[in-house]
Symmetry: C2
Subunit: 210 residues, 2 copies
């Protein structure tokens, strides 16, 4: 399918569509009208039609959407069937929280390794994931195709590690360090997780009501 240029707002909504359609599928919903889907997501029906039209549109007049098909199409658009792989850089509390509790596989990723420098971690297997010494990163990247590096290192180490990942051919950086990464190469994508932005939005919402 030929894709148009898609706005970042639409890209941000796609995972939400996927999540809602998965929930609907799990409780046995087979088809849904765009207005019902919109209602449950806090959007308008015309916004949903417009979003999905970026990818060719999947609804049928008078029928609505087949939940399982649409979910599959969105999974495909999101690249969930591409066999992406990820490694974790920094097996501290946050890295370990992701290893233990975050289901990379449900997002279509295989989590293949973690890297750290602490002797008490290196060589161990945590939540089924082997922890290697960061000095072996380059060798690992040479022999393994890695799509995404998950940056959970201390902020001070973030820039140097990011550069090593990009040099080693990693195309996506999932950045949990509170640092803006200036990475070079148009083919590299950085996705920042800004906890503070989320807390500040919550702060606004509880402040507004008072």
């Amino acid at each position: 399918m030929k894709k148009q240029r898609v706005s970042s707002a639409v890209i941000r909504r796609l995972p939400r569509y996927y999540r809602h359609l998965s929930d609907l599928h799990d409780v046995g919903v087979v088809r849904i009208s765009s207005s019902a889907l919109a209602g449950s997501m806090g959007l308008t029906a015309s916004q949903i039609r417009q979003d999905l039209s970026c990818f060719g549109g999947f609804g049928q007049q008078g029928y609505g959407y087949n939940v399982e098909n649409l979910r599959g199409e969105i999974a495909d658009i999101l690249g969930m069937e591409r066999g992406h792989s990820a490694i974790i850089l920094g097996a501290g509390n946050l890295g370990r929280a992701l290893m233990e509790n975050f289901h990379f596989d449900r997002s279509g990723f295989a989590l293949t390794a973690a890297f750290d420098i602490r002797p008490e971690l290196v060589g161990r297997t945590l939540s089924g994931v082997p922890v290697h010494h960061i000095d072996t990163l380059e060798g690992y990247l040479q022999s393994n195709r890695v799509s995404v590096g998950v940056l959970t290192v201390p902020s001070s180490a973030a820039a140097a590690i990011a550069e090593r990942l990009v040099k080693g051919g990693v195309r996506g950086l999932w950045n949990f360090t509170n640092t803006e990464l200036a990475v070079h190469g148009p083919e590299v994508v950085v996705e920042d997780v800004h906890f503070a932005d989320s807390l500040l939005a919550l702060s606004y919402m509880i402040t507004e009501e008072t």
Copy 2:
């Protein structure tokens, strides 16, 4: 200042404005044109003017924005000066990662306590934060004003803990559990942190380029 009804897209951009203005302020920028601010944020100048006009507008024709003033106004809008407080529910890896590395104070929050059930954690002080037994939550909420509960408990415990927080008068839930919370009361706000949405957006972006 009288606020208009503000769209959720604008609310999501406010913390980013705050972050960018703080960075500019830190490197000594005193004033900035809306087009320069827009350029550094990947927005258009007219979008910035429109966003800020929701709150009365702060720019001056031919001058642009005073960085420190605008930062202060946005901090005020975000409720950063209201003395909000937060408690962490669940001092596992993720809870501890937030206690150790996340600067609640930089978002205007005091992190006053954590709650858990594990005997090896209860009674200890982690990163300066006392860990209490979850059974003492109701008493704590009676004697302390708590604005936000940070949910880092296992998913299975999320709904019950959320209900206890809301009953105890907590108005904001910062939800890191992979669970949709059905909380009652229009005065309660839930902010979900969906790691999967972020990873899927990254997956889309690295897939699109290939």
